[in-house]
């Protein structure tokens, strides 16, 4: 198993303590293409943050690629994020004052790879995304789809074991959304990387091979979706 969650609980302590995850049990295998679906407030983003070691959980166990992720120091967590996990965000989260290629290089910078090698690899991945001509452009000069492709290149460049995508199409129109999902599918197949997409759009979820429904902090139904017919709108259509 690539990912194994055993009775994971998470409570936010504020003025009113909020029990967000109420005993999550989940297994995701190597190379799977999975979506986590749920309404807002269902705990799906919290779950993704825990999977991405961006947030910690209170009780339970989280096993990532055979290692228990618990009580890590900031440094260890940073190392895991850099080596094992690739992130794709709804708002792209590119650094505005860096060009596309510099953004893609950044994870390798934190891995201590030399300048020239970084640039070479980043150009290679931008090429895979069809963005060679846009390498020296700044994010604010690009369309949403282009920005998301830069972000995907940045997530892929470290050869991560899993990619976590948080509403990757949330800021895109339906046509671009479809392109991005096709790209993720291709990446999942070609790079053999475990792909987890968090979404509230059934069309997006329909593109994945397994849909995990989460409601009120508990895992509900887990659908196998190999034929991609979970969406009432059929395959290859994302309704906005």
């Amino acid at each position: 198993m690539m990912i194994e969650l055993k009775d994971v609980n998470k409570t936010y302590f504020g003025a009113q303590p909020l029990h967000v995850l109420k005993g999550i049990n989940l297994e995701i295998g190597k190379g799977e293409f999975v979506s986590i679906m749920g309404a807002s407030g269902s705990g799906k983003s919290t779950l993704l943050n825990i999977l991405g070691i961006l947030d910690n959980y209170d009780t339970g166990e989280y096993w990532l690629d055979g290692r228990l992720i618990k009580g890590l120091s900031e440094r260890e967590a940073a190392r895991y994020r850099n080596h094992t996990i690739g992130f794709i965000f709804q708002s792209f989260n590119l650094i505005n004052f860096k060009t596309a290629v510099e953004n893609v290089e950044l994870p390798l910078f934190y891995r201590g790879i030399g300048r020239r090698e970084r640039h070479h690899q980043a150009m290679e991945y931008l090429d895979k995304m069809g963005l060679t001509d846009w390498a020296e452009h700044f994010p604010n000069e690009m369309s949403g789809g282009q920005k998301q492709r830069v972000a995907i290149a940045r997530a892929l460049i470290t050869h991560p074991r899993i990619i976590l995508a948080d509403e990757p199409t949330g800021a895109l129109d339906s046509k671009t959304s479809l392109e991005v999902m096709e790209l993720l599918k291709r990446v999942n197949k070609e790079e053999d990387v475990t792909m987890i997409v968090v979404t509230h759009e059934s069309g997006v979820a329909n593109e994945t091979n397994k849909i995990i429904h989460i409601k009120d902090g508990i895992i509900g139904k887990v659908e196998d979706n190999v034929d991609h017919n979970a969406s009432p709108f059929g395959e290859n259509s994302i309704m906005k």
């Binding site: 947030d55 940073a78 080596h83 989260n93 891995r111 300048r115």
Partner: protein, 420 residues
């Protein structure tokens, strides 16, 4: 390191106006520090130059008067220095005293051709010049050979030379001529810059010649150079012992400290040094506090910058940035700002010191008694420049530290959720 600088240049370009305004505060602080130290140094150099004889370890001993009755001698009796006091001084304090000069003085009439005037005649030996130097205009001073051979030579001031050979004549042509003092002729061997505070024109002749001519004259003072008394305490102790020995030799009360008046260059020097050190410390403090306000400005700006960049730091952390790499980024940025603008300030400061040196540094104030520099060598030393560099880097680290720690502490998830 190169990568970090690239990163920083990228972020600094984002906020050019803010960066340069912050930088101005630092540049101003360093400029003030350097300019103050340079100006202070110039004043102190001038002070030292105006009192340059003070560097030499000499004491000059004058007679005084008794302050208490003792052994039949009344209070208020004038005390005198005798020939044997000079000999005693030379013999008894060999371990510290290097050379002794017995100075005599009396007034007499000096004349050349048809000009004559009442003048002060000093009977001295070369040691005198160690303690009270004369600036030679032409010729030479009294030397050892003059003393040994009891030569009838005379070293006169430029005021006397100008009187004997008034303009348009060349007053320095007096050298080699014979002038008459009392009823004897002396050969003029040199002309010195006269001290215009003296009531009488002063002339120097060898002390041995003086004793021959004015036999039985009262000794004016004993001057000696010495070594090994480095602290104020050691000097005080020596002077106390010297007075006690004098009192015993002359039959005055042993603990009477008014019988002699001793002017000690080392103690004066120590006091001048003390004052100068205080001034120097004050200048550093004022300069550093000016710089501090610049540094606080940098720290403030770094806090704002960090606040603005929280989201970016969140992205970096998600991509695998360690807390230390974030801290490094912020601190190095802070150091780059302070060091870059600090050096601009330092260069401006050094230039202004050079300007001060080449303008008022060249002015000589003639106050009659003496020609004085108001300002001299108002340049800062390499040591000060290195010190200021160290201060700048430390300041940069300090200014960046708290903002950096704040940036590193932020959880990546909170930073990512932060709205841009």
């Amino acid at each position: 390191m190169f990568d970090i600088f690239n990163e920083i240049i990228g972020t600094l370009k984002q906020n050019k106006l803010r960066t340069s305004l912050t930088g101005f505060a630092v540049a101003w602080g360093v400029f003030m520090l350097i300019a103050l130290l340079g100006a202070g140094g110039g004043l102190m150099n001038a002070l030292v130059n105006n009192n340059r004889n003070i560097d030499v370890n000499t004491m000059q001993v004058y007679g005084g008067s008794t302050s208490k009755a003792y052994n039949g001698i009344n209070e208020g009796t004038w005390t005198e220095l005798k020939e044997f006091d000079a000999e005693r001084t030379e013999e008894n304090y060999k371990d510290v005293i290097d050379a002794v000069s017995a100075d005599y003085w009396r007034s007499d009439t000096a004349s050349f051709r048809d000009m004559s005037s009442n003048v002060g005649i000093n009977g001295i030996s070369p040691v005198h010049y160690v303690a009270r130097d004369r600036d030679i205009i032409a010729g030479r001073k009294i030397n050892e050979l003059d003393i040994r051979l009891h030569r009838k030579v005379i070293f006169i001031g430029d005021d006397a030379a100008a009187m004997f050979l008034p303009a348009p004549l060349d007053s320095l042509a007096i050298i080699g001529q014979y002038i008459k003092v009392g009823h004897l002729a002396y050969k003029v061997i040199g002309v010195f810059q006269s001290n215009m505070d003296a009531d009488l024109m002063q002339m120097d002749i060898p002390s041995t010649t003086f004793s021959d001519v004015y036999y039985g004259s009262e000794m004016y003072s004993i001057i000696f150079s010495y070594h090994g008394l480095n602290t104020e305490k050691a000097n005080e102790a020596f002077m106390k012992q010297y007075k006690k020995d004098y009192n015993n030799a002359h039959g005055y009360a042993p603990d009477d400290d008014r019988t002699l008046w001793i002017s000690n260059s080392v103690i004066d020097n120590l006091q001048v040094n003390k004052v100068m050190n205080i001034i120097k410390t004050m200048l550093w403090i004022i300069g550093l506090f000016t710089l501090l306000s610049g540094v606080v400005g940098v720290s403030n700006i770094m806090l704002i910058t960090v606040r603005e960049r929280i989201h970016e730091f969140g992205i970096r952390k998600a991509l695998g940035a360690t807390p230390w790499s974030i801290i490094k980024l912020v601190i190095v940025e802070s150091i780059v700002i302070t060091a870059f603008f600090g050096y601009i300030g330092m260069i401006c400061g050094i230039i202004s010191c050079q300007i001060m040196d080449s303008t008022i540094g060249q002015q000589v104030l003639d106050i009659g008694v003496q020609r004085m520099y108001i300002f001299k060598d108002s340049t800062v030393s390499v040591g000060v420049a290195i010190g200021a560099t160290v201060v700048l880097i430390v300041a940069g680290v300090l200014a960046g530290f708290f903002p950096a720690r704040k940036a590193a502490k932020v959880k990546p998830i909170e930073a990512l959720n932060e709205l841009k």
